[in-house]
Symmetry: C2
């Protein structure tokens, strides 16, 4: 943290001779505007989509002037990257929070993940739209991949561990491992598919139905550990 936090790194046209000491100075207004730009970017992505999220629309929502994007981030693409990073970190942090709050058993942790992914904090019009747009934009703005990739990989690892833990109660090591692999893959696809469905049918999407649907799959896979409401009580 000697450099005062990476988030304050203003773009450097020639970053060979970064005038060291100056970087320490943090003015409150600057960091506020920095964040305002990121929030405005996410807002714009949600409201207009990546294709229509222009500099003009972003600064309009941020209530700042045109030059601020170049000043703070160097380019619009880099701003979008920072916004993606921010959104990813926020998702991740909330997920960790939910996992910590939940019980220690594998089925409790899994229930927490399902309920997290279908909660109004995560599955809402803004977040899901942003997620969809940024995902699509990875294709022609490769650096966006890094954020979602690390997060997805971490979630995948957690899920695999939990599913393997449960699967071992139903069979031997080898079959449990194979089962856990398949179920992890399917579970991730299932949750992402739910997000897609939410995006497409925001008016008629029913959280309760979605939840019951997921838990029915889990109940069928692990009948001793789940029912249609979630993890079975101890």
């Amino acid at each position: 943290m000697t450099r005062g936090g990476a988030e304050m790194d203003v773009h450097a046209h020639d970053d060979k001779l970064q005038s060291s000491s100056d970087a320490q100075i943090l003015r409150a207004a600057k960091v506020k505007n920095h964040r305002a730009l990121i929030e405005a970017t996410l807002k714009t992505l949600a409201e207009l989509g990546y294709a229509n999220a222009s500099v003009s629309e972003i600064i309009k929502r941020a209530g700042l002037s045109r030059g601020m994007i170049h000043l703070h981030f160097g380019s619009k693409n880099k701003l979008v990257s920072e916004a993606a990073k921010h959104a990813s970190e926020r998702y991740h942090a909330f997920l960790e929070h939910c996992l910590e709050r939940a019980g220690p058993r594998a089925q409790d942790q899994l229930e927490a993940i399902v309920k997290h992914d279908l909660s109004e904090d995560v599955l809402n019009a803004t977040s899901v739209r942003v997620w969809y747009e940024l995902r699509g934009a990875i294709y022609f703005q490769k650096e966006l991949a890094s954020f979602s990739d690390t997060r997805d990989e971490r979630l995948r690892c957690i899920l695999f561990r939990l599913f393997k833990d449960l699967s071992l109660r139903y069979g031997d090591e080898d079959t449990a491992k194979e089962k856990a692999e398949d179920v992890t893959f399917a579970f991730l696809a299932l949750m992402e598919g739910m997000w897609n469905d939410y995006l497409l049918h925001q008016g008629s999407f029913q959280r309760a139905k979605a939840k019951r649907s997921v838990f029915r799959i889990l109940k069928t896979l692990f009948p001793d550990h789940f029912d249609l409401e979630g993890a079975k009580p101890a």
Copy 2:
């Protein structure tokens, strides 16, 4: 079909006095160019995404001149709509073909749907990218929804019928219906999630693994009718 096929409807600035008889004349070159524009649009969407699929890029791929889009479709948005319609119909037609070819049992039909959705004809870089881009674009080009909506609804009905058919072998009418509802919902989400995953990890995506994953879920739900390879033989 008296008007020579709706696809030849050139935009009409004032369509009050459509000079009837002229519409009959179909020149081969015209319909060819019409199709070329639609194919070029899909190609551009796949290669550059919705955000970068400009008129210039589309006509470059079609090998035609700038004015053709306005001449044939009236506007770029209408061209994109027609392209979406075309892609949707192609998907639908191929699915129906697969269903007809498959055996009559519910498990055979379901196996056909899974294999169709994960086949190289459907799950390929071009088609999936186009699907993703058009889906996202629905948000700010509402008319795009109509095509995917009707198709999705039809698929949903087919799936529900098949799943209910199977579920009845495992329980009474009421529980079977509820199970079928949940499974239909989950199955659709699962397949869409697979498409998402394919899009994001085209390099490492494994069809076989995806297929096994889906069939494992189906096997767990309907153990008498599926194994890890697909429908159980008779």
